[in-house]
Symmetry: C2
Subunit: 424 residues, 2 copies
């Protein structure tokens, strides 16, 4: 049953209405709902796995790759892990109601900011079915109604999950209508949703570059975009060799399919002869293909068992999401920073250096959501940063930058307690 | 000399380049520049008044109204006041470099957010020439390059002011190119500017509703919109009569042409008979025309010397910017909140009440940038709120809400100090 434009409007307006009550619901009720959702996900494991099995078989029939099928699969363990994540969101502090900068002005007005939910979040995603749970519970905890539009490959799984979330949440006292799920593989319907700025306060796209661009270009409401990570690691002239190798290795190999993985390795010319052969051998053992500029190719191109080919201009600024890395030798920190400014996507950038001034200059001048000294860019993640969870990673500068946790799904209102003050 | 599209691109790219140095310039240099700008504005008063005189005479010839001519006029006093404002911005704390939430994670990573400028701000405005100075100095202090596009009525004044600002700033050490001024009365050129998302990080429109809508609909980069204030004051059943009268009077009369002035007065039916005749007489003495719903008209319509006419549907949700107010009697706080939700613009809303629960419910449920209990909405202003100054007032929920001061012209980057950490 595909959703229709009329149905989307009805659901969005229901979400808008629900959001008004949800906004000032107590943390108690929200946490109770979260814990019930976690329990029911575990109890109704068979129902979830049954629905997921259908998606899996459809995927097999459609010739989906083994990697994609694995992303789609919900095992008992994965369902338990998802339930555990929901419980951990319930234990996070509620951002709603936080009072900021409260003070008394000379005229006696007591003035400050109070953190409040945004209202209705539209989430458009293509990823694994557990994203349905992640986004729904983060929105719930932050007091936002949510409209979920998942990918068609996970259609049955998403339906089962959202049914369980809705039933549990509503029975725990969450206002009916707060969690909406839209079924549609039709871009016309997404476009329709993107025009509903009266009902939806923010859209968060999560998926490939195409989806994100489409949403950013067609949305009439604000969009939090991100997730495209063209991440550089720069090995400075003064870098410690051991740290350089382990950081570059980790950033590329530990999980190459994600946005915070290394895409391009930049190496200062003074350390290239010593560093490049080591990382080239380590990376090659792990199956990494290096796309090298002339100078780096001259150093490692002829080494035995090293997988190095000449880079093309397209390799710089490319998010590989695979065991491929661009490799370039630079003359200076300045040249590294220029390369990053030109090709980076503003996600995560790292320098490996023992030089204090280089480290501080890199932190100043690399313009990205997350800038690292002597650490792997793989840490860019809401969980790793201590935010508990994330709905995505923003690479834009407005509103929120980097991992988007509960706080980033809120705004504030100025509240002013007076006693009859008027402006002179 | 009108600007051309090519010239706009050259200026925007120069601003982008300059912004990279300006971003981490010391507070000392920025403050030195601000103080020099203030001094030079006073020293070169004749030059400014000469240019302003031309605009004034052109305005007279074009048949501009006395009110608009007065807004255009720069007197010696007004120039001194503008210089004083610049000095006060120099004394505000620099938001750039502020470190937020810095902490050490279990793995030893030291992680936090550092406040950084947005980059390049595009300001498109129609207002008084001193807006050129206000916006330029707020951008400078917050480390942002700026592209100013002022209104054609103030063309010569804006040119003189921006020349003085540029010369003073650059001679004090601000990177050349940081302050750009674009001359154009042509919307095609504004549209061109609004497509330059690679060079301009944020656009702030300041002017009438038409301009703001045009910018919001055509900008490819983020826009901070606002300034449209449909502001309500609700007099609750339990309100103190004296406070109600003085707050409603102040909100409407003290400066009716601005966005935080009262547009619609809502009155609980139980207090309407006592309150309405008093405010109607006070307002009428001040020249306020009341557009009344049936019930309020029944109470005050026949009073002598009271200027009350029947309201039409168009009166609700209208920003009058004049001595006109919508007046409506409501049955309850709920009905007042419904009215505000339906017709408000999310700017400033006030309740007058002695009832604790009504006050707290209004603060919770009125969804606006600024929500007041027992005070005039006229306080919504960066200066009044203690932000020192403002580039405008945001009525959107993303990034910043309410008065936009220095902090609101910044973003943050996550900075991470490691010692070789990799992700397990």
């Amino acid at each position: 049953m595909q959703s229709t434009p009329y149905e989307i409007e009805v659901k969005a307006l229901a979400a808008k209405n629900a959001s008004k009550k949800l906004a000032y619901l107590s943390t108690h009720v929200k946490n109770k709902a979260l814990l019930l959702i976690a329990d029911e996900l575990e109890k109704r494991e068979d129902e979830i796995r049954g629905a997921n099995g259908k998606d899996y078989r459809d995927g097999e029939k459609a010739g989906m790759s083994a990697a994609l099928l694995d992303r789609l699969l919900l095992t008992a363990d994965r369902i338990r892990a998802t339930a555990a994540d929901v419980r951990s969101v319930s234990s996070l502090p509620d951002p709603v109601g936080e009072i900021l900068d409260m003070r008394t002005l000379a005229n006696g007005l007591q003035i400050g900011k109070r953190r409040v939910p945004l209202g209705v979040i539209g989430a458009i995603y293509e990823s694994r079915p557990n994203v349905t749970v992640d986004i729904a519970v983060l929105c719930l905890k932050s007091g936002n109604a949510v409209i979920l539009r998942g990918g068609k490959e996970a259609r049955n799984s998403n339906l089962a999950l959202s049914r369980i979330i809705q039933e549990s949440a509503y029975s725990a006292g969450i206002p009916e209508g707060s969690i909406q799920f839209i079924e549609s593989s039709d871009r016309v319907l997404i476009t329709h949703m993107l025009k509903m700025r009266n009902a939806i306060d923010l859209v968060v796209p999560r998926g490939g570059a195409d989806l994100i661009r489409y949403v950013a270009e067609n949305a009439s409401m604000p969009v939090l975009t991100g997730g495209i990570g063209v991440c550089h690691t720069y090995v400075d002239r003064s870098a410690d060799l051991e740290k350089s190798v382990s950081i570059a290795y980790n950033a590329k190999v530990q999980r190459p399919t994600v946005c915070n993985a290394l895409d391009t390795l930049l190496i200062h010319r003074d350390i290239a002869d010593r560093f490049l052969p080591i990382i080239a051998r380590e990376w090659s053992k792990a199956g990494v293909e290096m796309h090298c500029d002339e100078r780096s190719l001259a150093i490692i191109g002829a080494l035995p068992s090293v997988n190095a080919v000449p880079a093309t201009e397209q390799d710089w600024g490319k998010e590989f999401l695979a065991l491929i890395a661009g490799v370039r030798v630079v003359d200076s920190l300045d040249q590294a920073l220029e390369h990053i400014a030109k090709y980076g996507s503003g996600h995560s950038e790292a320098i490996v250096t023992e030089d204090y001034t280089s480290a501080m200059r890199f932190l100043d001048e690399a313009d990205a959501a997350c800038v690292y000294v002597n650490a792997s860019t793989r840490f860019t993640d809401g969980g790793q940063f201590g935010l508990g969870a994330e709905v995505g990673i923003s690479t834009q500068k407005m509103h929120a930058r980097g991992p988007l946790g509960l706080k980033e799904l809120t705004t504030y209102k100025w509240i002013i307690f007076g006693s009859g003050q008027v402006r002179p």
